[in-house]
């Protein structure tokens, strides 16, 4: 069976690694249909798993923005069936580390000095890798610092990396090219911002100060040092804390889990409604947990600014009662670009109830006022819904992208937040303390 569907080698050799996977995925579909013709119905799960594995294998060899895009897709589980997203979720940032001489060079062009001249001590090797750079440990005047150094030429490669993702994303998302462009331009914009360390520094300082001034309980940030930062270097305090996995391994009490979960929720609530800009990368590596129930937040590389009009119709939709008011609901669905002018009556008939179901489910924490994220049944429902959406032929055959491009990162942020809270099994108050347009700072 296998040989029959093996990949034509000439093609593979000519193609880049990425194209290779495209071929492989095609092969997996073939395999799937072959199996189906023999066994009648085989679960699509096997197919998804095969595809996800091949895509993941390729992506794990890619660095930088292609990997980021993959990770992003893995966060937005609405977009991907479960097997894909599970594989993608495994993707770790694994760019080859910058050599020490290059770090020295980067320092020399920023400060005219080697890192060992700028700091009292500076680790020869990176202590942590990131998709577009790495973190070194340093000390200055007895203070322990984290110094992030960016890989050269990253900004230039963002666009070309995204072009590489395109054939896959198109296949997986099954939307028209023009709709795809709309989403990709949003992704490209965020990724380019992420390579801008000056901007990241500015936003880190701005958001952390605003949150501290607000006095959200139990939250801490590193202090940032603009004088020790540059275009490709950011220096901040080294902050202590455990990653989520380590933290959970210490068996924190329910009380502590709730407290830390509440802090996390309030942090996002404040950013969304007051600052109208959010830390849009809620992946576990960006949070540090402590046993006293406090939460450290690092990495403001990916921040989504929420435009006023989008804010307005997005949160109006997530208000209790809206889904029971057909007229208002349809109006808000149109504003949110779930349905468009171009849709036929049949399409409207198909999608309006579908989106009602999606918003009804995904918005549950908003509508409830209090929510137990430890409740697995909620997440099972989400999986089942996305799986059934994926398997719905009519939905799949509709090649219109639905949802505003701004929702891409906002949904990702909320879903990432849900997942973190789920892992924490936190039971928290989810009604907003800050919602309301008049409260914007």
């Amino acid at each position: 069976m296998k040989e029959q569907f093996s990949i034509p080698t000439g093609k593979v050799q000519r193609a880049s690694k990425f194209l290779t996977t495209g071929v492989k995925v095609g092969g997996n579909y073939l395999k799937h249909y072959a199996r189906k013709s023999i066994n009648g119905d085989t679960g699509k799960d096997q197919l998804h798993t095969d595809n996800a594995r091949d895509i993941y294998d390729t992506l794990s060899e890619l660095k930088g923005s292609a990997l980021k895009a993959a990770q992003m897709m893995s966060m937005d589980r609405n977009m991907l069936p479960r097997a894909y997203s599970d594989k993608f979720a495994m993707a770790q940032y694994s760019a080859p580390p910058l050599s020490y001489p290059l770090v020295v060079k980067t320092f020399r062009s920023a400060f005219g000095k080697a890192p060992t001249e700028v700091f009292d001590s500076f680790s020869h090797n990176a202590v942590n890798a990131a998709s577009i750079g790495q973190v070194h440990e340093a000390t200055l005047n007895g203070k322990k610092l984290a110094v992030k150094v960016q890989y050269p030429g990253v900004a230039d490669s963002v666009s070309s990396d995204l072009k590489l993702v395109k054939p896959f994303a198109l296949r997986i998302m099954n939307i028209t090219e023009s709709d795809f462009k709309l989403y990709m331009s949003e992704v490209e914009e965020r990724l380019l911002e992420e390579t801008d360390y000056q901007l990241e520094l500015k936003r880190s300082v701005m958001i952390s100060e605003a949150v501290l001034n607000e006095g959200i309980h139990g939250i801490y940030f590193p202090a940032y040092y603009p004088a020790l930062s540059g275009n490709r270097i950011i220096t901040m305090d080294w902050i202590e804390g455990m990653h989520l996995k380590e933290f959970l391994a210490t068996n924190p009490s329910q009380d502590i889990r709730n407290r830390i979960g509440q802090t996390l929720w309030d942090f996002y609530d404040f950013q969304m409604h007051r600052l109208r800009m959010v830390h849009a990368d809620p992946h576990p590596g960006n949070f540090l947990f402590r046993n006293d129930g406090s939460l450290g937040i690092i990495d403001f590389g990916c921040v989504k600014e929420v435009p006023d009009d989008f804010y307005d119709y997005y949160f109006r939709l997530h208000t209790p009662g809206v889904l029971d008011n057909p007229e208002l609901m349809t109006e808000l669905f149109t504003l949110n670009e779930f349905i468009t002018e171009k849709d036929s009556e049949a399409e409207k008939k198909l999608f309006i109830p579908l989106f009602r179901e999606i918003i009804g489910l995904m918005g549950k924490p908003f509508f409830a006022g209090k929510f137990d994220f430890g409740d697995s049944s909620f997440f099972e429902q989400v999986y089942h819904l996305s799986e059934s959406l994926y398997n719905n032929k009519e939905v799949r055959n509709s090649r219109t992208a639905r949802g505003s491009k701004h929702s891409l990162y906002i949904n990702r942020t909320y879903f990432g937040l849900y997942m973190l809270l789920h892992e924490l099994k936190a039971n928290i108050v989810t009604s907003s303390r800050y919602q309301g347009p008049e409260k914007k700072v």
Binding site: K17, P96, K105
Partner: protein, 222 residues
């Protein structure tokens, strides 16, 4: 870099004159867009005697040859003057070499671009022959050090070819740098990282991953 230190040391007038002649040659080349017609024309402009020129160089080609080997010597001097360099593993020594060389070349970039444009073959032909000797002597030392430290695996027949292969790598970096249009020549930095990683992965154990990484990088950028 060379010129500065030499101007500060007038006790070596011969070296000083050599540098003056070299600088004047580059200056002429850049301003006129071509070599001087003859050594005679060049030296009379400079108001020195023709024989003073031959004291250092046999011809303009000879001058360019020692200019290039001078770039490498300056690089090596800069490296040994930095305290940290000696403590680096061999791979990082070679990386530092390239980064320092790129800095040295930067100050003469216009000349290098112009002369390589005029003579597309420059990077291949004998203009670099002296530089090549300097480089190969340097990397031969590195290779021995690497084999002692275990960074480089001793392979019969192949190991002796390493200095030559690394020379090809230097030419690759040089060509990449000449064509590099990125701000601060960041792409060259990335090219150096990747090229050196590949060569050390090939010379050490475990190669394939890095080769793919570099191929992909070139696919993106060229």
């Amino acid at each position: 870099m060379v010129a500065k230190t030499k101007k500060n040391k007038p006790e070596n007038p011969e070296k000083d004159l050599q540098a003056t002649i070299t600088d004047a040659y580059i200056d002429f080349y850049l301003n006129k867009g071509k070599k001087p017609a003859s050594v005679y024309e060049f030296t009379s402009r400079l108001k020195i005697e023709e024989k003073d020129f031959y004291q250092f160089f046999g011809s303009f080609e000879g001058l360019e040859k020692s200019l290039w080997s001078g770039f490498l010597n300056t690089t090596l001097e800069t490296l040994s003057a930095s305290g940290e360099y000696e403590s680096y593993p061999v791979k990082e020594k070679l990386l530092s070499f390239y980064y320092t060389l790129a800095e040295v070349l930067k100050s003469k970039r216009s000349f290098i671009l112009l002369s390589t444009e005029k003579e597309a073959e420059l990077l291949k032909n004998h203009t670099l022959s002296k530089a090549r000797e300097v480089f190969q002597a340097y990397v031969s030392g590195l290779m021995e050090e690497g084999m002692e430290s275990g960074e480089i695996v001793k392979r019969p027949y192949i190991t002796e070819r390493y200095p030559e292969l690394l020379w090809l790598q230097l030419l690759f970096v040089l060509r990449f740098w000449i064509k590099d249009e990125s701000a601060g020549f960041e792409k060259t930095d990335a090219a150096i990282e990747k090229a050196v990683k590949v060569s050390f992965d090939l010379m050490g154990p475990g190669a394939v991953d890095s080769l793919i990484d570099m191929a992909k990088f070139l696919y993106h950028n060229r």
